[in-house]
Symmetry: C2
Subunit: 149 residues, 2 copies
DNA sequence: TTATTAGTTGATAATCATTATCTATTCACT
DNA sequence: AGTGAATAGATAATGATTATCAACTAATAA
């Protein structure tokens, strides 16, 4: 329903607007992290963001990347995919729960077309008595590239 | 389809049989961990298992609990629910992927009735080109108890 | 039975992603 | 320019899990 792709520039503007709205400063470091997130399709880790930035921002520290990610979390502008065996991954483009396809070989994470989970959620709520506020759905397997080998 | 509850005793016997089949020893420590897992409905953490055992087995160490869990993982007899913000949780009764309801207040994790995900999986495979071998589906919300407050 | 060998336990140290702490720097506003 | 709050970055701390290794146990052989 809301799964149409918006441009990285638009998304970047959205994130900046939200931070400004809540009176956070858009520092060069934050801007750089936000730009990476808005342009990423592959759900980067904090370390991956740091590595992309260290060339252009020699003083950038991992702590700042983590802090910016946490700021975006507090402002509802990023979706965190938690993992315990590997680093967490982030989606700055779709900061709401949605399914993911995760390649167990190369670690790629992509967004499949969003399907309707409302029916499933309602059924679960009825049958368990839970109030559902969020969900996490990951499919694990091999991406087309890794499949070839 | 295979979601009918079997007795803890039967489940315990199954796990023991699998380990013996693969020529692992059933030590008192392993037996104790398996028994807890077979009798648990609440998806315990490693620490929780350890705490339940330390009274009866004063020499039990957390390392042994972790080792037994990993042994069960290698033998396909336990499902690990990974978390990064809290300890991993384990289901020794249903060691195959299935959805979970997770209470964000008290940490309870329960198994809802299993629904058919084959259709959903097929659709995802067609549309993304992935080969899906596994999935993870968590619903987050408030359990009936926490809801009352 | 005793010896041999491999498997297992449990204490301890190591790992590693993430967070906390603290100081220097930058920014917003006077 | 001056003042106070926000931020950056270096560094230490955290905590669940894993690695290491010596002591113990069990299975088998001599
Ligand atoms: Mn995504
Ligand atoms: Mn379960
Ligand atoms: Zn792949
Ligand atoms: Zn609860």
């Amino acid at each position: 329903m809301d799964n149409q792709k918006i441009s990285p520039e638009t998304r970047l503007a959205q994130m900046i607007a939200k931070l400004k709205e809540n009176e956070f400063r858009i520092t060069p470091q934050r801007y750089a992290v936000l730009r990476i997130l808005a342009h990423s399709e592959y759900h980067p880790s904090a370390e991956s963001i740091y590595e992309q930035l260290i060339a252009d921002y020699p003083t950038m520290s991992p702590a700042t990347v983590y802090k910016t990610i946490n700021l975006l979390k507090k402002n509802g502008e990023i979706l965190e995919l938690e993992f315990s065996e590997m680093s967490n991954r982030y989606d700055g483009n779709r900061p709401y729960p949605h399914p993911h396809m995760i390649c167990t070989q190369c670690g790629a994470i992509v967004d499949p077309p969003m399907h309707d989970f409302e029916k499933l959620k309602s059924k679960m709520m009825e049958e368990t008595g839970f109030t559902i506020s969020s969900f996490r759905l990951d499919f694990f397997g091999l991406c087309p590239d890794c499949r070839k080998e």
